[in-house]
């Protein structure tokens, strides 16, 4: 991504792209066609498939079941649309039950055990690697409570593809594997993929000169200053940038962070060996160079002259200790899913070995923040407790966290970046204040009054107003999140693939996108986000949809 002028052009392109997706899916029939398309399937192939499945499972319609959702207005409206589609077939008699988030997740984890008769509406967020989108949800080893395969779905072919995708390091082979995998998954429909989410960034155009939208939420604030990605932001007559966080930061230690907000808040504080930029390309960060020595060993040259916020100078030992620090922590699988050991060659060279060939190696490294030795050795000491006081090598250092109020960072003057033609050596923004705001309407009010310069988390209904208003900039990009329906594969009639496939055809995707989410997002047919264009680009989505989901 070149320079800082891409924002608006990119926006137009994205909007056009999502429009094209709609037009394509509607077959040029326009909005009215959308409605008839959604319900035209009732007596068509969907019903035939469901009937076939009911006969095979020996179940008399109507089958009573529940759509389980979290307490959320949008989810509720989606559930109502789905309910009416399912009820209309005459095969189902559906109720809606909503629970608070914790209870919803718990009931999903326990569902197969208790044979709960429910279809779960849920969402999932993947990242830059395709394995993020499928492994936890559909591998048979990840049946609850081991993972999040809620419906206890089992398919050997799917397992093989997932395993192959994880250990395959050739990128063409990986693309092939994940396309086959998605084909198999949609054909078998353990879940229906409904909508890909969008990152929606809104900024005050009077203060923020331009802003680039990082598609994944943890990186929302990379746009402030990410020299490794060739991106920075300038303010008009201000040195303090005020953004928001959707909830409080709970824990800022990389090995214990368990919420996306904490990752967001620390994104400018910690750095990793490599980064993945706004276009999904791997870029050097703390490593300047690396090569693969054999199937499982990589050699990294580290950047020289890198300083931590506490004054330590980065060495290979920091990298080794930072990796090994994950052992026995809540996030150990981030590292020990592949990490075998590492050898310090000299101060600025390290070899990292994996215990298996690992396809997502570089994206995995982007997850591992390098921390100072004082924090590792002095663990528990107030000065070096990363839980409350993050210390890294990033362009901003932590200043204060007022619980429930705000999170503040200040420019780190000794950051390693020396400047180039696209990004200046010194970040123009001196102070980054992130206000903790839990109410969506308050967030909007704060942005409108000017208390906030930026928000990533506004209600989708109000986005079109901001888009129409020249005083604000709006950046929209498909993100890694998707909404889905998980079927209880352990329970007849949902144990019959034909029933699930029939239901999958009935899911009112277009109508949900338009009426529930005001056109924010993209219709989804497969699990992997079109953000990873090679794996799930538009034409692939369309092929899958035509093959398995759409009946006209």
């Amino acid at each position: 991504m070149a320079g800082n002028s891409v924002g608006s052009g990119e926006r137009t392109r994205l909007r056009r792209r999502s429009f094209l997706t709609h037009a394509g899916a509607l077959g040029g029939a326009g909005l009215a066609g959308c409605l008839s398309f959604d319900s035209a399937t009732t007596d068509g192939p969907a019903a035939e498939l469901i009937e076939e499945g009911f006969a095979a499972a020996d179940i008399e319609p109507p089958f009573e079941t529940t759509i389980a959702i979290t307490q959320d207005e949008e989810r509720n409206r989606f559930a109502q649309l789905l309910q009416s589609e399912l009820d209309e077939t005459g095969f189902f008699d559906v109720e809606i039950e909503s629970r608070d988030f914790g209870s919803h997740v718990e009931s999903m984890l326990a569902a197969a055990d208790t044979e709960e008769n429910a279809i779960f509406v849920s969402s999932w967020t993947g990242g830059w690697d395709p394995s993020n989108y499928v492994t936890m949800l559909f591998h048979s080893e990840n049946r609850t409570p081991n993972g999040l395969n809620v419906g206890h779905y089992e398919n050997e072919t799917v397992d093989e593809y997932i395993d192959a995708g994880l250990t395959e390091t050739d990128s063409d082979e990986r693309v092939e594997t994940y396309r086959n995998l998605q084909n198999e998954l949609v054909a078998d429909s353990p879940a229906s993929f409904v909508r890909f989410r969008e990152a929606t960034h809104v900024w005050n155009g009077d203060v923020v000169n331009d802003w680039q939208t990082y598609p994944l939420q943890p990186g929302s604030y990379y746009a402030v200053y990410a020299p490794w990605a060739g991106v920075y932001t300038e303010l008009e007559d201000e040195t303090e940038f005020v953004g928001d966080l959707g909830s409080d930061v709970t824990n800022s230690d990389p090995v214990e962070i368990n919420g996306v907000v904490s990752s967001q808040a620390t994104a400018l504080v910690y750095e990793q060996l490599v980064g993945i930029d706004f276009d999904g390309e791997v870029q050097p960060m703390l490593a300047t160079d690396w090569e693969q020595l054999d199937a499982t060993t990589y050699r990294f040259s580290l950047r020289k002259g890198v300083q931590f916020h506490n004054g330590e100078a980065l060495t290979a030992t920091h990298v080794k200790r930072s990796l090994e620090r994950y052992e026995g922590t809540t996030r150990e699988s981030d590292v020990y899913d592949w990490y075998e050991n590492s050898t310090v060659i000299d101060d600025h060279t390290i070899e990292i070995s994996c215990w298996r060939e690992y396809g997502p190696f570089e994206t995995a490294l982007f997850n591992v923040s390098i921390v100072p030795l004082a924090a590792i050795d002095g663990e528990g000491e107030a000065d070096h407790d990363l839980q409350t006081k993050p210390i890294g090598t990033g362009p901003y250092r932590f200043v204060e966290h007022e619980s429930g109020s705000h999170w503040r960072l200040r420019r780190f003057d000794d950051h390693w970046f020396a400047g180039d033609e696209t990004v200046p050596a010194t970040p123009p923004i001196e102070t980054v204040t992130l206000e903790i705001i839990t109410e969506q309407s308050s967030r909007q009010a704060a942005l409108e009054r000017g208390d906030l310069h930026f928000s990533y988390n506004l209600p989708s209904a109000s986005l079109s107003d901001f888009e129409a208003n020249d005083d604000y900039g709006v950046g929209r990009r498909v993100s890694g999140g998707f909404d889905m329906i998980l079927y209880p594969c352990y329970l007849p009639p949902f144990s019959e693939p034909s029933v699930r496939r029939g239901c999958n055809m009935l899911v009112p995707r277009e109508r949900t996108l338009e009426t529930v989410y005001h056109g924010i997002g993209q219709v989804a047919y497969t699990p992997i986000s079109p953000l990873l264009e090679d794996y799930a680009g538009e034409s692939f989505q369309k092929t899958i949809a035509n093959e398995y989901v759409r009946s006209d």
Binding site: D100, F101, G102, S103, V105, E106, S107, L109, A110, M136, N142, N146, G147, L148, S247, D248, T250, N251, D253, E256, N258, G259, G328, T329, T330, R331, E332, S333, D385, Q387, T388, E402, S403, G404, S405, H406, T433, E435, I436, I437, T438, E439, S441, S442, A445, A446, E448, R449, D451, L452
Partner: protein, 315 residues
């Protein structure tokens, strides 16, 4: 019994009450579906050893009853430990939030009394006149208006449209002009319903007293109406108001969840909601204890004021 001994006895009773309240909360929270460990690890995949280690660290491997006793033992020395979710000291977390809650709750309470009491007197003495009608209508509206709605409307009109107040709390100490100014809208939002309640109660209570024979007697003795109302009637009409005002004080301290959300105020209400959602047991327990203490103290205060207002009341 003297007032002093009465207060002492009441304080002694407080202890079993608080033990009961916290024991109940403890069991209710553990009855919620959901495992604290799942919340701690953020529903990640962790090895069995790691999970066991977390369980042992926070005593989650022991029976609920033992967990409660362990908690109680520490709570007596005001030692609330560390939150398994955030890794932070629970006392410090609450210590930071409590002043904010007290400031907002206290301001709303003062507002409720400052509006409710004069309005109650005025409407009572002008019963049937336009002032009474207007006051009663306003009170009805005040009680019927949900505070989330009122808060959003105030925010929209006075902050977004007119730009008079900040939407977000200023980055200033609690006792500062900027913060006091910011608190105007949340205080009105939180205090309106309580003001209406106080007004209606005082009005009806005064109406009753105004018909009493001693009022007629006082007037017959030629006392000025002002003295009759303020010295005689008000004092007697005040008892039910004191009860409600006392309980409102406790309610305002813990009932500000919605208002804190709308105004992004870093009080205990939001902390409580977040802790419940994240199954952060130590924080939930500590907050419940604080609320319990607030209610018990408010009740005690009410009883003491009773005794001062009505010398016949002795315990």
């Amino acid at each position: 019994m003297s007032l002093g001994r009465y207060v002492g006895r009441r304080l002694a009773i407080t202890v079993p009450v608080l033990v009961g309240v916290t024991a109940l909360t403890f069991s209710f929270v553990h009855l919620l579906p959901g495992d604290a460990v799942d919340a701690i690890v953020g529903f990640r995949d962790v090895s069995a050893e790691t999970e066991a280690a977390i369980r042992a660290e926070y005593h989650l491997d022991q029976p609920v009853w033992d967990q409660y006793l362990l908690w109680l033992r520490d709570a007596i020395t005001l030692e609330f430990g560390e939150s398994p979710v955030t890794g932070r000291d629970v006392s410090a977390t609450i210590g930071r939030r409590l002043p904010a809650t007290l400031a907002l709750g206290g301001a709303a309470w003062l507002l409720a009394l400052a509006i409710g009491i004069p309005a109650g007197i005025v409407t009572a003495v002008s019963a049937g006149k336009p002032a009474d009608e207007v006051g009663r209508l306003a009170a009805l509206a005040g009680i019927a208006t949900p505070n989330f709605w009122l808060g959003l409307i105030l925010l929209f009109v006075f902050s977004v449209r007119l730009g008079w107040f900040r939407v977000l709390p200023p980055d200033a100490p609690l006792v500062s002009l900027a913060t006091v100014k910011f608190l105007v809208l949340p205080t009105i939002t939180l205090g309106t319903a309580a003001a209406a309640l106080v007004m209606r109660l005082l009005r009806s209570s005064m109406r009753r007293e105004l018909d009493a024979p001693y009022v007629t007697a006082a007037r017959a003795r030629g006392l000025p109406e002002r003295t009759v109302i303020l010295k005689h009637v008000l004092r007697n009409a005040f008892l039910p108001v004191v009860t409600v005002a006392g309980l409102q004080l406790a309610f305002l301290v813990d009932g500000a969840v919605v208002v804190e959300g709308i105004f992004s105020w870093p009080g205990m209400g939001r902390l409580l909601v977040r802790s419940i959602l994240r199954r952060d047991y130590p924080v939930i327990q500590a907050i419940v204890l604080v609320i319990g203490i607030a209610i018990v103290l408010a009740n005690l205060l009410v009883d003491i004021i009773y005794a001062i207002l009505d010398p016949r009341i002795r315990y």
